[in-house]
Amino acid sequence: MGKRTIIPFGPQHPVLPEPVHLDLVMEDEKVVDVIPSIGYIHRGLEKLVEKKEYTEMVYVIERICGICSFGHGWGASAVIEGALGIEAPARAQYLRTIWHELSRVHSHLLWLGLLADGFGFDSLFMHCWRIREHVLDLFEKTTGGRVIFSVCKVGGVRKDIDAMTLKEIVDTLNSLKPEIEEVAEVFRKDASCRNRMVGVGTLSYDDAVALGAVGPVARGSGVVQDMRLTGAGVYDELGFEPIIETAGDCQARTEVRIREVFQSIELIEKAVAMIPDGPIEVPAKGNVENEFIMRMEQPRGEAFYYAKGAGSKFLERMRVRTPTNQNIPALVHMLKGCDLADVPILVLTIDPCISCTER
């Protein structure tokens, strides 16, 4: 046994745009233990329920994270709708599903780029982000924002998308497909990518279940778990099936996300074909008396929302549990025994969103 050294990783580290701190306990080049510490982005926004009315709270929750902001807005709206006992109209549900899947496309492309950057493949990073800009343009056209949209509200959505723009969304995404396919082939076949990912950070099915992994991390290890199966949105009507890979290594998790990009494009296409006419919102009035829970599948995995009313315009408690929070035990497990040079790849492989984790 060699001498043990502790190497600090972060909070300011070039590979991640967000601050996270890990104490890596090293024996020569091998990581033997990891002590994560968080708190650099903790804002305490759940406490804002005391100062913001429930209709305003949606916009606060949306700002938990700038990458899966639409999903958080939807989750917060849906949980408050549930507590109020109202339901958003069908057209609003379809529009929410379309925007949510669009944000999955943009989030996964962003992550693929960051992963490529993580192993030093800069041109691949640039290509992923170049493609992603077209998705952001669609967001800007339909909601007015590039990363923060504020388009979801309690009772429905604030903006409608007309038929012509819906067609444009589908056309744009279909024209992006060959480009995404080209990038995906590099991740799948290029030797420099495979060397860094195949067999690295393997997480077995049993470990994924025992450590409570969620989202693409769990699905990459063969766990059939996707909150889109639980009934939020219109995924039942679209015939949604979760994507599962079984190898459990970095390559499998990447493959899950690549396939999800194409799946999301298909889901959007189906949703645009099936979207009904009708109102896009119902009025949200009265005080919140009850409590309600809601589970949503964010690009990073399961997010859990809880709201409890206090019989007034203000909620008594709002709780959000986010996917990265759930994946940190799996990350610590993966890091033990890896090389120091693989640490950035493994940290990226769970698609960490620190601002979600700490809120």
Partner: protein, 155 residues
């Protein structure tokens, strides 16, 4: 941008933002906006950086990190606060853990508004920061290490 003599190197730190402004900072570097064509590089080392981009309202745990990074940067240096949270706390202003704006911790030279700040606005803020950088350099009155062409001719 003809008056710009040197390409500044940037350092980005997330002082408890929601990620929205951070990915927009990165978007500035990628092909759609591509500031790297002007030689502007996002560096990870504070001692290489001229311009410090801070996003997010600084929280209690981040305060010392932001201050340390700022102190490590060589003079002259410019701080650009990106997004409404970095300007004054924004939507999180009333949170218990929030200091409220980067200027409560370190001096800020340029404020870029927006939630999230758009890449165009961030680039504009950096260009404004270049002006401040030039002023600061002039005020320091340092001798240039590499003689310019005009200096050679005079000699």
């Amino acid at each position: 941008m003809a008056n710009i003599k040197r390409s500044p190197w940037l350092l980005h730190y997330d002082g408890s933002s929601c990620n929205g402004c951070d990915i927009e900072v990165l978007a500035c570097l990628t092909p759609m906006y591509d500031v790297e064509r002007f030689g502007i590089i996002n560096t990870g080392n504070p001692k290489h950086a001229d311009i410090f981009l801070v996003t997010g309202s600084v929280n209690a745990q981040n305060e010392s990190v932001v201050r340390q990074i700022y102190e490590q940067m060589p003079e002259p240096k410019v701080v650009v606060a990106i997004g409404i949270c970095a300007n004054n706390g924004g939507i999180f202003r009333e949170c218990y853990n929030i200091k409220g704006g980067v200027d409560t911790v370190i001096p800020v030279d340029v404020y870029v508004p927006g939630c999230a700040a758009r890449p165009e606005a961030i680039i504009d803020g950096v260009v404004k920061g270049l002006g401040v950088l030039a002023e600061k350099r002039a005020a320091m009155d340092v001798k240039e290490a590499i003689p310019t062409n005009t200096a050679k001719e005079e000699a």
